[in-house]
Amino acid sequence: MAFLELTHINKTFNQTTAVHDFNLAIEGGEFVSFLGPSGCGKTTTLRMVAGFEQPTSGRIVMDGVEITNTAPNQRNIGMVFQSYALFPNMKVADNIGFGLMVAGKPSSEIKKRVAEMLSLIKLEQLGDRYPFQLSGGQQQRVALARALAIRPQLLLLDEPLSALDAKIRVSLRNEIRAIQRQLGITTIYVTHDQEEALSLSDRVVVMNHSLIEQVGTPFEIYNFPKTAFVASFVGTLNSLPAEVLDAATGLLRVDGQEIHTTQPLKAAKNGDKITLALRPELFRLNRTAVGENQLSGRVENILFLGAIVRIQVRLRETLLAMDTFNNPHLALPSLGEEVTVSFSPEACLVLDTK
Amino acid sequence: MKRSSLWGWLWVLLGAVYFLLPLYGTFDFSLRAQRGKLSFTAYQSALTDPEFLRTFAFSFRMAVFTIILSILLIVPTAYWVHLRLRRLRPVVEFITLLPFVVPGIILVFGTIKLYSKPITLFGFTLLPALTNTHATTDILLVAGYSVLALPYMYRAVDTGLRTIDVRTLTEAAQSLGAGWGTILWRIILPNLRTALLSGALITFATVIGELTLATFLARPAFGPYLALLGNHKTYEPSALAIISFVITWAAMGVIQYISRGNPSQIAGGR
């Protein structure tokens, strides 16, 4: 039996469905992300786990105990909020010790635990400061320490990094993951940032329109997206309208040119219109190998994105984006040049057209 | 219904009773000028009293002058402080807070002490006694009212300037070749319309029934007339109290309406 089980969770607010039939089992020590655009139901699900919302129907079981209707202050779940939510009237040390203080722990124990937590987040010197004297990144670390001080069974993080600068965001997310590994605490992390979700998680739950789209490891989610939504939300994606010429051999026509796919065509028949999805990094420019697909077009735009150069190639109707690693010896085509892009038959995914 | 909302309703109810009971009592009383039946006789006799018309017109004029003077003093100052003299801001804010420290009765006391005698320096008269003529006393009265209006007028304008980002607007206008006069008159003032209107209305509501300054400067204003009326009439004072309330209500209602439910206007006790 998994550590945390959510079964058939539904939540409606005045006739609007926020979460629909959510099922998920999370193992002890696992780091799971809920990923999706705003309004997809990820935060609502998290708040139901925390106890701030009651599910309209369904069950939440933690460590074998049903907590669906347990009051939030009886759950022993730690939560970190997007806005830090530090108590502005208390010093850092008092914020961290708050949970132990209201639980009536002796002050010697609180002091010891607060010191432990401050060293965990590497802010030993700042226990006497007020929150308004700290930077955003420091405040969020204090919030993490405060949530962990009560030794919760489960840690919830609600977009904890979205209020921070890009640089701090990356370093703090690595720190969060390191602390989580060190403590082995089961963690749910809500984010709309696919990079965060992919880099941090053991498993990612992609949500859209109050439904789960796909649950899987970051590797599965990125390389084998099950739905068009997952494919387009996670990473950049070219979608190509195609016509099935021969379903048996995987022969397709794209933009008046013929290509092959080895991916299953599902139930498509000859003559059907389908959508192919291709990651920009799986294309190659002006190089052909035996058995590869080729499409020709004209270079329309070249974008420098730092480590990557994105070349946009205009086929007859569609615009393809292809990524290539930047290096000083890179020979780039010129704008308007006729080029051939090639890609392997495995690279083109056939998406569910819902 | 949750327990907390029951508590909420209880306090709202109590508050509403406190608000409404005196109003209802006054209104009820004002209708009883004729024995045995309800009528608007008191209103009629109060409103047709020539003394009422005279004093109300006087207070109305004073209110208009006060509003003009306040706007002329405060808009350029607040604008300058926002744009060019930011370090003066604490000083200006301190001064606009001072009228809270110096209530009307003290203000008029000091004004009379200072200006009821000629101001002399080495035997030369710099300024004659201002309380000697009606016109100069009216100047003192309008100045005093403007001082009382200072905190809320300044705050209204300051809030207004803060919401429109004067610096950017001014720089944009300058880059298009506009001069100072054009900027103030065509750009800043139109954007401050709401702020100025709420400042003006609250000033009006305060000045129209003001008692203290008018009494001690001995000017025939509506406030002293009303106080006097209370001594020798029975029903008319209630009628005029209701009318005053309606005026205050109208002023605050318009402010509430134009500032979309965010009235930061507080004049305080008198």
Binding site: R146 | I106, G268
Partner: protein
């Protein structure tokens, strides 16, 4: 046209004599006005309270403040202000709570806020008349109590023209002021604080005890001090209600202006000076406490 442009540019960096002049031109009328009609009158009272009848320096006026009648006036003013600040503060806070966090619908809040805006400005003579018509000897509520419950509040010791009556009247503009200032402060209590506190195992009472009330305390105290000053400086309401029978500081100053009842102008100035000192202390405390809250919440 092109040549005229540079002169009109913002002289942010240029500090020529001319731009200095323009910089100050906009604020000079304001400062002249403030000095002439606010600061100089106050200073003249201040100076007057240290002068005897011949204009020589003296401490006698300040010593005169220790006279029994003057001490009584200050004490009565302080009591009325304190009672109405506490009562108005408490009632106003609860009402502000009801319309913000108390679970009442939106329109209630809109109605109460508008009413508070009106009521906090509805002071002076009309307010006194309204209370006379309601709680005077033949007032609406007085008669209502007598006819409905057979209970004459006047025979039970109530009198509108007394300490309690005046306090009750002052409350009419005091507690709405509290509502107007406290409602935004209560809005400032973020939902996440409550949730974080629940999440860490705190009960609702513990949340109020350790988080909400400490956060609100500066504005709570500050606003009550503001209410104190508000009542302390009020003259018109008290005058119209009691006709000068109640010996408040403001009433005494009024009487002194009318006819030198203290038989010593200097003592009158000292009386006013003492009042300004009390007002300054309360407004100063208020600003200090407001700053403290802003620092937390920025």
């Amino acid at each position: 046209m092109v040549n005229a442009l540079p002169a009109q540019k913002l002289p942010v960096s240029k500090t020529t004599d001319r731009s200095w002049f323009w910089n100050w031109l906009g604020v000079i009328p304001f400062f002249i006005f403030a000095i002439a009609f606010l600061i100089l009158p106050s200073i003249s009272l201040f100076v007057g309270s240290f002068q005897d009848s011949k204009g020589d320096f003296t401490f006698a006026n300040l010593q005169g403040l220790a006279e029994q009648s003057i001490v009584n006036a200050y004490w009565l003013s302080i009591r009325v202000s304190a009672v109405t600040a506490l009562g108005g503060g408490l009632l106003g806070f609860l009402l502000a709570y009801a319309i913000t966090l108390g679970g009442t619908p939106r329109w209630v809040r809109a109605a109460i806020t508008t009413f508070s805006g009106v009521a906090s400005n509805f002071a002076g003579v009309p307010l006194a008349f309204a209370f006379i018509a309601t709680l005077g000897r033949t007032g609406f509520a007085t008669v209502l109590f007598r006819d409905l419950f057979g209970f004459n509040i006047y025979s039970k010791g109530f009198n509108l023209y007394s300490f309690y009556g005046l306090s009750l009247t002052y409350l009419y503009f005091q507690f709405p002021l509290m509502v107007l200032i406290m409602a935004p402060a209560l809005d400032g209590l973020r939902r996440e604080w409550r949730e974080a506190s629940e999440n860490l195992g705190a009960s609702s009472a513990q949340y109020w005890r350790y988080v909400a009330l400490p956060i609100l305390l500066p504005s709570l105290l500050g606003t009550m001090i503001l209410l104190f000053g508000n009542a302390f400086g009020a003259y018109a309401t008290a005058y119209a209600l009691t006709g000068g029978r109640l010996n408040l500081v403001t009433i005494l100053i009024g009487a002194q202006m009318r006819g030198d009842v203290l038989h010593n102008p200097g003592l009158g100035y000292a009386l006013a000076f003492g009042m300004v000192v009390i007002m300054a202390i309360s407004i100063g405390l208020y600003t200090w406490l407001q700053r403290r809250t802003e620092r937390w919440l920025k």
